[in-house]
């Protein structure tokens, strides 16, 4: 009695795929083993597929984003490097999918720039009595959603606060929950935007 599945076609390769046709049309034991193989093959493929997917997911989640990643093309490199080095950003990027990471990381760089622009406008406004023009931030070559829309909303809010004619609106926006103030340093390694705004008094 031959060992099930152990036979090889004369002169043929010994791969599982090549063995299967060779087993056909022989004795009943071989037919039985072929039947077993047929039943097990989809399961084996499924298991291998799951293993490969798990490895891919594991690898993609463990890899930190580099400032050279193509998603940052079109954004100032200094801002990218600074943003990715911030512990708060690193924490935010933890435990999310690669696609979510890409959107959030790209948006975070743009938000850092937008928030510093909002601070610049606020400080100039309360010092001179007139708000300077809002400078539009750089846009990456390939904006990623939903971060892209969220950054655009940030600029829309900034322009609306300026259009209100009341610097206190911009101040409130800078200090609000989910706003720029508590989240970003006013300058690299410096105090937060909120701390700088609060120094100005109400």
């Amino acid at each position: 009695m031959p060992t099930p599945g152990a036979g090889t076609e004369a002169g043929g390769p010994s791969t599982p795929a090549s063995r299967l046709p060779a087993l056909q049309g022989t004795d009943s034991g071989r037919e039985q083993s072929l039947e077993n193989c047929r039943r097990q093959a989809p399961e084996a493929r499924l298991i291998i597929g799951i293993l490969v997917a798990t490895l891919l997911i594991g690898c993609s989640r463990s890899g930190a984003l580099s400032p050279d990643d193509p998603i940052f093309k079109g954004l100032p490199r200094a801002a990218v490097v600074e943003t990715l080095s911030l512990p708060r950003v690193q924490t935010n990027l933890e435990g999310i999918s690669t696609q979510q990471q890409r959107s959030l990381a790209q948006a975070s760089v743009r938000t850092l720039i937008a928030c510093r622009e909002a601070l610049r406008v606020y400080l100039a406004w309360i010092r001179t009595g007139a708000p300077p023009k809002v400078s539009p931030g750089p846009v990456p070559e390939n904006p990623i959603e939903p971060g892209n829309s969220a950054v655009e909303q940030e600029y829309t809010r900034l322009k609306a606060a300026v259009a209100s004619g009341d610097p206190d609106e911009l101040r409130a926006m800078l200090l609000a929950e989910g706003g720029c103030g508590p989240n970003w340093p006013a300058e690299p390694g410096g105090p937060t935007i909120a701390e700088v705004v609060q120094e100005q008094g109400a």
């Binding site: 948006a107 743009r110 971060g147 969220a150 929950e177 989910g178 720029c180 989240n183």
Partner: protein, 159 residues
């Protein structure tokens, strides 16, 4: 003269007066509704209860539901229950916050079973809930690692 009288009678006719004033009433009604829509805050939306697996190591961050605000407003997270709720005398309290789509975070707050934390005047955006255990505990018995607990929570946000 007849023509002039006819005009006066037409204006005083109750049916015709109603027909004349009805569009005006409709306009006033619509204007009132529009004013109310602007003044009354948008209703709160709820997502949950739902369960998130959170590590008991007190370090690893888990990511929960993402919700999109319809306006600025209050964001709430309620810890409905946890399983296990207490391990070696340490309750499964959870540090939670949310991250907006553009990378701004809410402050971290601690929530325990049956309690709610809230953030007011939160700027409109999409927000993703994050959570980690306040204090490490062994939820895994004699197994390797700290194990996990089920965090049953509900979020409320401006719809």
């Amino acid at each position: 003269m007849e023509g002039r009288r006819g005009l006066v009678e037409e204006v005083r006719d109750p049916d015709k007066t109603l027909l004349t004033t009805l569009p005006l009433l409709v306009l006033v009604g619509l204007a009132s509704l529009a004013t109310l829509a602007g003044v009354v805050p948008a209703s709160a939306a709820t997502r949950g209860p739902q369960v998130l697996t959170v590590s008991c190591d007190g370090v690893t961050i888990s990511t929960g539901v993402r919700v999109v605000f319809g306006s600025n407003g209050t964001y709430k997270v309620r810890q409905n229950s946890t399983n296990p709720s207490i391990v070696d005398g340490i309750p499964s309290n959870t540090n939670t916050w949310a991250v907006s789509d553009n990378g701004n975070s809410l402050s971290v707050k601690t929530v325990s079973d049956g309690t709610t934390v809230s953030w007011t005047n939160v700027i409109r955006s999409g927000y993703t809930t994050k959570a980690y255990k306040t204090q490490a505990a062994n939820c895994n018995g004699i197994g390797f690692g700290h194990g996990n607990y089920d965090w049953n929570y509900t979020v409320t946000y401006p719809g």
